[in-house]
Amino acid sequence: MSLKIKKKVKEKAVILHIDGILDISTTHLLELYLKELDDNVETLVFDFTNLEFIDSTGIGSIMNAIYLSQEKHFKLKLQGINDLTNQFFEMVGLYQILEEIQGSEMDV
């Protein structure tokens, strides 16, 4: 059960490819990346193309990123979301929260 995060930087955008399992045993890794985020980042992208599983703690990490985007004034985008994960995000209201907090546009 593991998580691999690949970070790519493109000018003032940071793309985190979140591969594997994002759950109670691995979310601390994503939290580290959020902690180390530069103050001048304008866009943070979470790419879930290779995400195998996410639980409520994983949702909690995304929530932390949403609230961090409000605090540090960057845009958060979610992309590469498969049908099952999309259903989960819709069910808990994650997209509505993202939209409300920052009026984000999401690439699917």
């Binding site: 069910m91 808990v92 994650l94 509505q96």
Partner: protein, 281 residues
Amino acid sequence: MCKSVQTYTHQQLLEANPEMGKTLQREINLARNIQMQLLNGKTPKVEGGEIAGFSLPARLIGGDYYDFYPLKNGKIRMVIGDVMGKGIPAAMLMILTRGAFRSTAESTRGPAETLTSINQALYEDLRTLKSFVTLFCADWDPKTGAFTYANAGHHLPIYISGKDRTVKELPKVQGIMVGGLPKQVYKEASVHLVDQDTIFFYTDGIIEAQNKRGEQYKLERLIRTLIKHQDQNVHDIQKSVLESVNQFIEDVPQKDDITMVLLKVSQPKVDISSLNAPVIN
């Protein structure tokens, strides 16, 4: 300087006091007892049906929650929920949620208002603690058969029609998980339940239970199990679901908290062959 002194003192305490580990273990066991008694305690009796609930944490204690609250108007208010995370932190927030539900249940008009009230009460605390709770709340009126419900980010329950002996879709109601955004106004929907209709509420620990091959139990398997055992009483249906999950996961340790709530309508059949009925030849 202060922080390193604090850490050093903490370490000293642990090294000098091996009893602390035993004390912690004892306290965790006590906490588990409290949660088990609160969660799996007395279930109210209802006219015109049966209700039951069951919760099994993945660790010693957990963040799943369910509750029943008989209302003065004869309805029964039911709730099922799932706090983010597992173990002691989730269990502490579960108790907070239980308190919010019970203190609000009698004064709110319906499930939607109940969720709005709970979110209002818990939002700031949940934000501070960077957590959230998914909740599904419903009122059942045994007199009219009305089943009214509202949703804050949780799975919709499974509705099995006693007449058609199949799964019927509950009208979809969606809402943001509690702790997600402030000042939420939740929506309600309603269905009319009749004799032998069953509603099965659940948390994702059931459908996400995994076997040795990493396969999940899944909703489809749960539905098949419920249809197969739909003629049983609520307690036996619960046992059958648990048995089915245990058979599937084999020896793999339980990954997430498992909770289920059942409502089964049983309206008494009218016997027309009474002594006063005219005999028609």
